[in-house]
């Protein structure tokens, strides 16, 4: 009772004066008097003063926030900007030097306790869902039209994402619209990170033990509207069960097995011709791409006596089990990253090395990372990257790809000649 009355009195005093520095000293004096008189022990005094200060700090923060209009309270604005220099040498020895920028701006607003909406725009080319870059040039033109047949000079603002999200429970979330890919993979072997699928998704998570939680990501990706009577509705269905397992405080394991079901793709006209998937005599896709994709990532905190804060070994594979696919129907990626788990502060850094190989018909060639051999299949590639924090939420990054076709794809193709891509980025996030 004595302690409750003491705390109530101190909290009242603190709240009334909003704890400017001088008044905080007065509370300390009061509490010290109570200690001297034997009303409180030294430990109880420390507990009371500290908890009261924290409570008053919180009330001040709440007071400032509650004064804002409701729509500001419920809405978050976020975005990022990237300036890039790119050196690109193709298999024919042609060299291209480009300056590129990417800008993304998004809004997320909470509609009620369970629902929210997100809308985002970005720079990019309207014809390429895998890139949000625009190339600087054309004398600083702001023109977004296709001008003088010069590819790469498009400067458009595109719709990056627009979705509604419904948290049915804390374990089940429904998403619909155009949204960030819910399918997890430890590399970008199958999905370019700028590609936001369109359709619907369900995300399930459940903690089954103190060290383990399971998840299930499901996605219905609508590739195109069904514009002909004969063809099926082209969609991809994905079911990805997975788990997170904390082996120890320093070791964590994440794994998943994605199952891809394609419908309305085989024998359909190609969406954007990359010339690496096998086509039939009519120039349509010869095969389907029903496949399995196992993924695994082992995270290690302070490996080797703490020489770096974090390291991870990761890998994934893809196998197309559709009928009639005779060969070149598998692929994999394996890599290592070490340094900070996420670079967000000055002085933090992360290095990554990765090897990827993708068979001709292991996967559709319109989805993989567009920086790795232009996003095509039938290739192998080595990647090395380094990211360094030069300030809070701002980094410099260097990324290098050495890529090669697995063989000739046409009579005029140089086939085995390697390509080189070097990117130097300045990234800013808010």
């Amino acid at each position: 009772m004595r302690k409750i009355l003491s705390m109530a009195f101190i909290l009242f005093l603190g709240t009334c004066v909003l704890v400017p520095q001088a008044k905080a000293g007065e509370i300390d004096l009061l509490v010290q008097k109570l200690v001297e008189k034997g009303v409180l022990t030294q430990g109880e005094a420390q507990e009371l003063v500290t908890e009261t200060r924290e409570e008053v700090k919180k009330q001040i923060a709440k007071g400032s926030y509650d004064a804002l209009p409701a729509w500001i309270q419920n809405t978050k604005l976020k975005g990022d900007f990237r300036l890039r220099y790119q050196y690109d040498r193709n298999a024919y020895g042609d060299v291209e030097n480009r300056a590129r920028i990417r800008a993304r701006l998004g809004v997320e607003s909470k509609i009620n306790d369970q629902m929210k909406v997100g809308i985002g725009i970005a720079t990019g080319k309207v014809s390429d869902p895998r890139s949000t870059n625009i190339t600087l040039g054309q004398s600083g033109s702001k023109d977004s039209s296709y001008n003088n047949n010069t590819p790469g000079s498009f400067k458009n603002i595109i719709l990056d994402y627009a979705y509604g999200e419904y948290a049915v429970t804390k374990d089940i979330t429904l998403i619909g619209g155009k949204f960030k890919n819910p399918v997890w993979e430890p590399s970008d072997l199958l999905w370019d990170t700028d590609l936001n699928p369109e359709g619907a998704a369900v995300k399930l998570t459940r903690k089954i033990s103190p060290s383990t939680d399971v998840f299930m990501n499901t996605l219905l990706f609508v590739l195109d509207e069904d514009i002909t009577k004969e063809s099926k509705y082209p969609v991809i269905g994905v079911i990805q069960p997975g788990f997170n397992y904390a082996i120890s405080p320093a070791l964590s394991l994440r794994g998943a097995l994605a199952n891809y079901f394609f419908s309305g793709v085989e024998k359909r006209g190609t969406f954007r011709n990359q010339s690496t998937n096998t086509k039939n005599a009519n120039g349509n896709y010869a095969y389907n791409y029903n496949s399995v994709n196992p993924s695994l990532e082992l995270g290690i905190k302070e490996p080797l006596g703490g020489i770096v804060p974090y390291a991870a070994i990761f890998g994934e594979g893809i196998y197309n089990y559709s009928k009639d696919v005779e060969s070149s129907k598998s692929g994999f990626a394996a890599g290592l990253k070490f340094g900070a788990e996420k670079v967000s502060e000055k002085g933090q850094w992360q290095a990554k090395m990765l090897f990827a190989k993708l068979g001709r018909d292991a996967w559709m060639d319109i989805f993989p990372d567009s920086d790795r051999y232009s996003g095509k299949t039938y290739m192998k590639s080595y990647e090395a990257s380094l990211e360094y924090g030069i300030g809070k939420n701002t980094t410099l990054a260097l990324d290098y790809y050495y890529s090669q076709s697995l063989g000739k794809t046409s009579t005029d193709d140089l086939g085995y000649s390697p390509t080189h891509l070097l990117q130097l980025d300045w990234n800013l996030k808010f």
């Binding site: 430990g43 924290e54 700090k57 923060a61 269905g237």
Partner: protein, 270 residues
């Protein structure tokens, strides 16, 4: 399309029903300084209450506070007070963060056992960590380079040390960053010329702590506030704790819990 739809819905139903219900579970996450307190309390509490399920993780005070603001843990352990920017984010996220002081701690300055220096002033500690002193002979010690060890930026110990010892000045750029109290202790023990700082609970027989301004870190000097680098240790909850979270915090604050706190090398409040 029909086949895909059936498989999708079947999988959702299977996952939702397949996992049986468990007893109440909570997650405690954050400070590596508070970690021993949380782990000991969790073990003892679960022995007494076998149906309770308490998961304890480290990561640093910043990680724990971010986790409770995002709703990913039930109790955030922290060796520093929550920042105003974190409070603003909590309020924006609809979280009502409540502080519970569970123990007092001192940040002890430790040196390699081969170092003859036994005492430092606050000014000397600051000068070492901000780069103004680089050789132990400037402090009456051996002619040996000072190897400065510090915590990474997600650490509450780092934040508290920065405020109490360095007046928020930046740590010298050649300082070696470590991700936990234990990592600092290990590095200082193994490295001649090294200096670091750890929570009181991480002192042991093979670790040499120096006095600061003539005050050695101890229970008495930390509780009375005489030791210059004294600090409270927190557990934060979202609102008033309920259920298992309340029981665990009440247990830690109870006389039995505070005896466990003292046994782990910290300073109890009772």
């Amino acid at each position: 399309m029909k086949k895909i739809t059936k498989i999708l819905f079947g999988s959702i139903a299977a996952l939702s029903l397949a996992v049986p219900a468990f007893a109440e579970k909570i997650v405690m996450e954050g400070s590596t300084t508070v970690l021993p307190i949380a782990q000991t309390a969790a073990e003892v509490y679960m022995q007494k209450n076998p149906s309770a399920d308490i998961s304890v993780r480290g990561g640093g005070s910043g990680v724990g506070i971010a986790s409770i603001i995002d709703g990913n843990c039930d109790i955030a352990n922290s060796s520093r007070p929550i920042k105003e920017s974190e409070l603003d984010k909590a309020v924006t996220n609809g979280k009502d963060i409540k502080a519970h002081v569970v123990a007092m701690d001192g940040i002890a300055v430790i040196v390699n056992s081969g170092n003859p220096v036994n005492a430092l002033t606050k000014a000397q500690v600051k000068d070492i960590y901000t780069g103004k002193i680089s050789n132990w002979n400037q402090l009456g010690g051996n002619n040996e380079k000072v190897v400065v060890i510090s915590r990474d930026t997600s650490s509450g110990t780092f934040e508290a040390f920065g405020e109490l010892a360095l007046n928020k000045e930046k740590v010298r750029p050649d300082a070696i960053m470590q991700a936990s109290n234990q990592a600092i202790a290990t590095t200082v023990v193994r490295t001649p010329g090294a200096i670091g700082y750890v929570g009181l609970g991480f002192l042991s027989a093979d670790i040499k702590a120096v006095s600061v301004d003539g005050i050695a870190p101890s229970r008495e000097t930390v509780l009375s506030g005489k030791f210059p680098y004294s600090r409270p240790l927190f557990m934060y909850t979202n609102g008033e704790p309920k259920g298992l979270a309340k029981e665990v915090i009440d247990f830690i604050k109870s006389p039995e819990g505070q005896r466990l706190v003292e046994k782990d090398g910290f300073v109890g409040l009772k």
